[in-house]
């Protein structure tokens, strides 16, 4: 018996080849085991259980057609083949779409039904699939997915590789890298599942399940790979549907279902691999020799009985002699000035991915939706109406455009919602954060719609008063409320929230001295476990005790309040709601320990417009109910939506100055705007439009190979990367970046204008 085994890589993220060989040697001492590899740098080729080696040139050099013929010949001559590499298994499935009696790998039809992330074939198993989204969706939608899942998301490639993307810029960088490495734009984002990893390994021949075993990871490498584990039988409630799945797929070969078990005992399926896992010999040690079962199933040859040496296994590091006929190759020279030797994928797997794509573009593509998205963001009608109201012949670009209809609609909507949520016991009002955009038109809209003015400095207070707010409609918070000196209103303000205990003590002193007056005096709290520089920290019992003591000193005739702000778009929407609940628990403790009733709650900050305006109102209604239940003394909730009001209320118009086409199909278009007008470019995507110079039509801009370079002579001045300008775009064309009315506008700076 001759068995070819591939996938002999033995680095930190090992392939299963050596484990398969060890297991086969244990079961079939006289078998001829041939190691197949595509680089002599792969250390597994030196494992002495291998009788022979079949070392091929790396995939980037290999002629797949002639190599395929040689593989066919080896199989025709009776050799069995167990693949230890996903991509090689795919190539073999493509080469033998209907299988080969000696190829112990799954057929093409089966592989197509286990593609990530849906793993459609596993629908009968007692598992769930973590939420995901294809990166073919617009950046706008992808950002929404990240927010929805609290930025605990992974960007995953079609075969290997996954990158945590906790921020928008890290996502953009990872997407570019994975797209380049794996030669495909079809990646997907998947929500992280917290829990313990476990796997089920199986062996099957022509749809008959020969064996399966469960493994829980007990030690993991920094990459999250198995270092030690325990082995157990697969429970029948999993085994029965697994047997059906294997039969439906007519599966042949090894396989692995990688899963996470969460705290509620729910299993989440991350992926199914078309091969044995790298820990395959760990199961053999526990008496479950699945490679042997596979060979037995295919040939009828009887293996030596498996002996269980224990139910747990671990890895150790072993040094083995290098084969004399395969001396170690030299280390590549580090790139000049670079660190390391740049040795990833020595067998050229990424080249195989590229070749497979070229030969068969549909082979195992990530297809997560039947009707693929067009990658274009939806543009609200009010945006179009507002933009169409401008005579661009008169607009000197770059220019911020006030979106009148959009802004009016947003403020009215917020006011209506606040009215609906109010009850006889609790009034819900909105607060407009002046710093988000101090444009007088927006402040006036806030005033007209019953908002309070939320200010962080006395200059902002002056601005609010100038526009028409009364002092008793002003809420002052932040660490610099006293700046600049001399501008503190003598009239009574609505609320004054202190950012530290020292700030609270200063406030009490100033109130006693008649230097300021506020109907409510309160504190901003910084809930633990969230990085923030604002508010009074609660992360130690000592600071909590000091806070309690300070609040007790508040004059009895001053109403008490609590202020809680955290950018929901940065931490994620459900995480924000958790923090909200956490904040209420802290408030309840503060009430209990101080004897002071909280009468006003000011909450919000940093809401992404879609999350605020489009979100199911029942969440807000539920929140009001929770406040009433936990803090019955609260009379007013000030809801501060932050940039949700300002961000959609302005757009930035710019013109293309020049278009440069490069040999690699990439395009650089220079525009007259810059990151000086779009400082938030790195933090969230903007919906972009081109105004067609011939028809005047507003055309949404999707993903492509064009980088929009700002006008500044600064290396990082790229206002949009990887976009697709519509056909016919040329110098002089007008582009409009929507969603620029928040911190883009208020934090824009004068630069490069002489």
């Amino acid at each position: 018996m001759k068995v070819y085994v591939s996938g002999l890589y033995c680095g930190g993220n090992p392939q299963p080849g050596v484990g398969i060989v060890r297991s086969l040697r244990q079961a079939f001492p006289n078998a001829t085991l041939v190691g197949v590899e595509y680089s002599n740098r792969v250390s597994g080729i030196h494992w002495d259980d291998l009788d022979d080696l079949w070392i091929q040139r790396p995939w980037d050099e290999l002629d797949l057609e002639s190599y395929g013929e040689r593989v066919r010949q080896a199989l025709d001559e009776g050799g069995l083949w167990i693949s230890g590499s996903d991509l090689e298994a795919m190539w073999l499935a493509d080469l033998f779409p209907n299988g080969h009696r000696n190829l112990l790998a799954p057929p093409l039809a089966a592989l197509k039904r286990i593609t990530k992330p849906t793993v459609e074939a596993a629908s009968g198993l007692p598992v769930k699939i973590p939420p995901y989204i294809s990166t073919e969706h617009s950046d706008w939608d992808l950002h929404a997915f990240c927010r929805e899942h609290n930025w605990r998301v992974w960007l995953k490639g079609p075969y290997y590789d996954a990158a945590r993307t906790p921020t928008w810029d890290s996502f953009a960088a990872a997407r570019n890298a994975l797209t380049k490495v794996w030669s495909t734009e079809r990646l997907f984002l998947q929500s992280h599942v917290s829990g313990y990893e476990e796997s089920v390994m199986l062996a099957a021949y022509k749809g008959e399940l020969l064996g399966a075993v469960s493994m829980r990871k007990r030690e993991i490498t920094p990459e999250g790979k198995t270092w030690a584990g325990d082995i157990s039988e697969v429970p029948e409630e999993f085994m029965a549907p697994l047997r059906r799945m294997v039969k439906e797929l007519a599966w042949t070969g090894g396989g692995e279902l990688e899963m996470v078990r969460d705290a509620s005992n729910q299993l989440w399926l991350l992926e199914m691999n078309p091969r044995f896992p790298a820990w395959v010999h760990g199961a053999t040690i526990a008496g479950h020799n699945l490679p042997a079962l596979l060979v037995q199933g295919a040939t009828g040859a009887m293996p030596k009985p498996s002996v269980a040496h224990g139910q747990e296994f671990t890895r150790v590091v072993l040094e083995v002699p290098v084969r004399g006929d395969y001396p170690l190759p030299p280390l590549p020279e580090p790139f000049a000035g670079a660190i390391g030797h740049s040795m990833k994928h020595p067998s050229g797997l990424t080249s195989l991915a590229k070749k497979l794509h070229k030969a068969n573009p549909d082979l195992l593509e990530v297809v997560v939706e039947e009707d693929g998205p067009d990658g274009l963001p939806a543009i609200p009608d009010s945006f179009v109406a507002d933009i169409d109201s401008y005579d661009f012949a008169r607009v000197q670009t770059p220019q911020f455009l006030f979106m009148d209809q959009t802004a009016s609609g947003l403020f009215k909507r917020a006011a209506d919602r606040a009215h609906r949520l109010s009850t006889n016991e609790v009034q819900v009002v909105s607060g407009y954060s002046i710093k988000t955009n101090p444009d007088e038109r927006l402040i006036k809209l806030a005033l007209d719609n019953g908002f309070y003015a939320e200010c962080i400095s006395l200059l902002e207070v002056q601005k609010a008063l100038e526009v028409g707010f009364r002092p008793d409609q002003v809420i002052l918070n932040g660490p610099a409320k006293w700046w600049p000196e001399g501008l503190m209103p003598k009239e009574r303000m609505h609320a004054f929230f202190c950012d530290s205990i020292a700030d609270l003590e200063r406030t009490l002193t100033a109130m006693e001295a008649g230097e300021m007056s506020s109907r409510h005096v309160g504190i901003r709290i910084r809930t633990p476990n969230v990085v923030s520089r604002f508010g009074i920290p609660l992360d130690s019992p000592g600071t909590f005790r000091k806070l309690v003591e300070a609040v007790k000193r508040l004059p009895a005739d001053t109403a008490f309040g609590v202020h809680f702000h955290m950018a929901s778009d940065r931490i994620g929407v459900s995480q924000w709601w958790h923090l909200f609940e956490s904040m209420l628990k802290w408030c309840r403790s503060i009430e209990k320990l101080t004897g002071r009733t909280i009468e006003v709650l000011d909450m919000g900050g940093g809401w992404f417009p879609d999350d605020w305006h489009s979100d199911d109102e029942s969440k807000f209604a539920k929140a009001v109910g929770t406040v009433k239940a936990m803090l019955p003394g609260v009379r007013q909730i000030v809801s501060e939506p932050g940039k949700a009001m300002a961000q959609p209320s302005m757009a930035l118009a710019m013109r293309i100055l020049e278009i440069q086409e490069h040999e690699d199909d990439s395009i650089e278009a220079v525009v007259d705007a810059s990151i000086a007008e779009l400082p938030m470019y790195f933090f969230y995507p903007h919906r972009m439009l081109r105004k067609c110079s011939e028809t005047g039509e507003l055309q949404p801009i999707g993903r492509g190979k064009t980088n929009l370079m700002g006008r500044l002579c600064m290396e990082h001045d790229i206002v949009a990367a990887n976009v697709q300008l519509p056909e016919g775009s040329k110098a002089g064309d007008l582009l409009i970046f929507c969603d620029a009315g928040g911190y883009d506008r208020s934090m824009s700076y004068v630069f490069g204008r002489g």
Binding site: N529, D539, F544
Partner: protein, 218 residues
């Protein structure tokens, strides 16, 4: 390690006919409880533990182990009695204090949890080290025998009658496979439960069925 009075309840059984069960030494030993000054100092501390535990959940499942407690408080010798206002200020607390804090956290979350006592097997070398460490701090080392130790933790109800055992001072769930023998293994467990949980067939933990309020040998 625990209430000084409790040490008087240690059962030092001498048997000639057979080796005593490891747990017999702690047959009548109560689990650890904090004292309360009935004043604001202790109430502030207790409220802080409860509110901070919820904050540390980070939006995760309510049945997630409160590992932050182990991160904040190292495991080591503690003198008893211990008041709430005292424990939160310490850097190092023993397993009884850890388990008491964890129980408070679980209860405040609204999940069903029980106090648990463990006997674990280690080695003579390990107990010699611990005995020295506890001695250096002038804290009782009654929790140590030759190669077995008394330990405290929690049992969290995760199904109709299934529990997971939380080792609060390690910050992990005890593996049901790691029972009965070997270094670090659990050799006996006692779960304190009353009311509807105080009778019946007891709790299921892995392949074991554990009757409440009595030592169960594994």
């Amino acid at each position: 390690m625990y209430l000084a009075a409790a040490e008087l309840r240690l059962d030092l059984l001498e048997r000639e006919d057979s080796l005593p069960l490891a747990s017999e030494r702690w047959q009548h030993f109560p689990y650890s409880c904090f004292s309360h000054h009935e004043a604001a100092c202790c109430e502030v501390a207790r409220e802080w533990i409860i509110a901070n535990d919820f904050a540390q959940l980070n939006g995760g499942d309510l049945k997630t182990g409160p590992r932050w407690l182990r991160q904040k408080y190292e495991w080591g010798p503690s003198s008893w009695p211990m008041h709430w206002c005292d424990v939160v200020e310490r850097d190092v607390i023993d397993c009884g204090a850890h388990a008491a804090l964890a129980h408070e956290a679980f209860a405040a979350r609204g999940v069903t949890a029980f106090r648990a006592q463990f006997v674990q097997k280690y080695s003579a070398d390990a107990t010699v080290q611990w005995r020295k460490k506890w001695g250096d701090e002038e804290v009782s080392d009654h929790w140590l025998t030759d190669d077995a130790i008394y330990h405290e933790g929690n049992a969290l109800l995760v199904g109709d009658d299934e529990v997971k055992l939380w080792d609060a001072s390690a910050g992990w769930w005890i593996n049901a496979r790691q029972a009965g023998g070997g270094y670090g293994s659990l050799v006996a467990v006692r779960i304190f439960a009353d009311g509807q949980w105080g009778g019946g067939d007891g709790f299921r933990w892995g392949d074991h069925r554990i009757k409440p309020n009595q030592w169960h040998q594994l």
